[in-house]
């Protein structure tokens, strides 16, 4: 579903990703953990080309997105992304946030987009906020709207970039709950997070990154309980 081959990324002379190779299978939930500055967010942003790729290849369902000839907008429509800072559109109501992309990118009719949008809002427990503006929502509500907005495009893959890092602690649970539900429904997900509990419970595979490299990857049970690398052990001893 996703295949990342020899991915390298540098900002000027600063090398952020050195040589990343990852395969994600359909319906798999891959959790990426690691200290800040390890390149995990950059890795995620390379998967839908929000960061230009310095070298290597990224295949999404067989399409090489690093190939100039492939239509990145088409690929992005199939890959939903949820950001740490939510990035809701503040000038639009909640329901309009969700309706915008399906209408403009998929040419869905307004009525259909609204129906689908309300359905998704019900799914994330915010049907009553449809006509509210994002500024009036709490952080947890905003992030749930952001998830609904990404789902409105009916993506095959969902990317989560530290979705709970900007939230007050008591709001983390409601967002993780929605993500767990998605995973249960069989969504293919790549999640960058500091929530080790979530990684353990929902992840099929955990990748530990440090210094622009994948240091270790394994099932959550193996990685958390029997880490092989010293760097993994050092990191886990600090966060667990």
């Amino acid at each position: 579903m996703i295949e990342v081959k020899n991915l390298k990324k540098s900002f000027g002379t600063n090398v952020v990703l050195k040589d990343i190779n990852v395969k994600v299978k359909p319906q798999e939930v891959v959790v990426v953990i690691g200290p800040s500055g390890s390149g995990k967010s950059t890795f995620l942003r390379c998967i839908n080309l929000l960061e230009s790729i310095t070298d290597g290849h990224v295949y999404i369902e067989g399409t090489d997105i690093t190939d100039k000839k492939s239509d990145i907008n088409k690929v992005r429509a199939e890959v939903g992304m949820v950001f740490q800072q939510f990035n809701l559109f503040p000038h639009k109501k909640v329901i309009e946030n969700i309706m915008l992309a399906p209408m403009k990118v998929r040419n869905t009719s307004a009525a259909e987009a609204r129906k689908k949008g309300l359905e998704l809002l019900r799914k994330v427990g915010l049907e009553d906020k449809a006509e509210a503006y994002p500024d009036s929502l709490s952080g947890g509500q905003k992030q749930r709207v952001a998830i609904a907005r990404a789902l409105a495009m009916e993506p095959k893959i969902m990317l989560f970039d530290e979705p709970t890092s900007a939230l007050d602690p008591e709001m983390v649970g409601e967002v993780l709950e929605v993500m767990k539900q998605l995973a249960k429904e069989g969504m293919t997900m790549v999640v960058v997070t500091h929530e080790m509990g979530f990684a353990k419970e929902v992840g099929d595979r955990v990748i530990f990154m440090d210094g622009g490299l994948i240091v270790e990857e394994n099932t959550p049970i193996e990685l958390f309980d029997h880490p092989k690398e010293d760097r993994t052990k050092a990191f886990l001893s600090k966060v667990l």
Binding site: N73, R76, E78, G80, N87, H91, A101, V105
Partner: protein, 218 residues
């Protein structure tokens, strides 16, 4: 100082005509300047240095030289080059539009660049093209932030339209000068003109603050 009301009454129809032309010149300058300014602002923001360079030059030239010089050049040199004759109104509209476009371009650029880059990323991550993201996500938000500086620029434009009197466009200030020439009076024509300009700029800022309140989402 004795204020001669009778000559004012005599000149009232001219002041009215002049005011209408002042409004016309300003509106044309605002509309054309805004459209041009948007394109020049977007042009200056292009990543390719060679493509954005001409737009930078344009802004530098029109912001860096006095409008009086620009209107003289356009009236006596540029317009005759194309039409073979001079035309005060055409020169005034052209100068006001080209000059305000330079300022408005910078207002647009600042407005667009003030929007958090997460907004563009979110729009693009949903599959929107750059143009769609600009049109539906970035510009509506940027526009709201641009209203106060745009209002400033429009007010400046109304006032600077008075320079058109120097190329014989019969707007408000032109009739003020005509009245001074005929009666050798200064208080009556210029106080009247000042008052009318004040009414025009006050009305505009009132309209703009109404617009700003209507666009607020709170």
């Amino acid at each position: 100082m004795d204020f001669q009301w009778d000559i004012l009454v005599e000149y009232a129809p001219f002041f009215l005509k002049g005011t209408l032309l002042t409004i016309g010149l300003s509106l044309a300058g605002i509309l054309i300047g805004t459209v041009l300014g948007l394109f020049i602002g977007l042009g200056k923001m292009m990543k390719n240095k060679f493509l954005s360079f001409p737009f930078s030059v344009y802004i530098t030239l029109f912001r860096g030289t006095p409008m009086l010089v620009q209107i003289m050049l356009i009236h006596f040199a540029v317009v005759p080059l194309f039409t073979g004759g001079t035309n005060g109104i055409a020169a005034a509209i052209l100068t006001l539009s080209l000059n305000s476009a330079a300022y408005i371009a910078e207002i647009f650029r600042a407005g667009i660049q003030s929007i958090d880059k997460g907004q563009m990323e979110a729009a693009r991550s949903l599959g929107m093209t750059h143009v769609q993201a600009m049109r539906y996500v970035i510009l509506p938000q940027a526009f709201k932030r641009m209203i106060p500086p745009l209002g400033n620029e429009f007010i400046v434009l109304i006032k600077e339209s008075s320079l058109a009197s120097l190329v014989a466009a019969p707007e408000l200030m032109y009739w003020g000068r005509a009245m001074q020439g005929q009666y050798f009076r200064v208080w009556e024509p210029y106080l009247t003109a000042a008052l009318i300009y004040l009414v025009l700029t006050l009305s505009l800022s009132f309209l703009l603050s109404r617009l700003e309140r209507r666009l607020s989402t709170e």
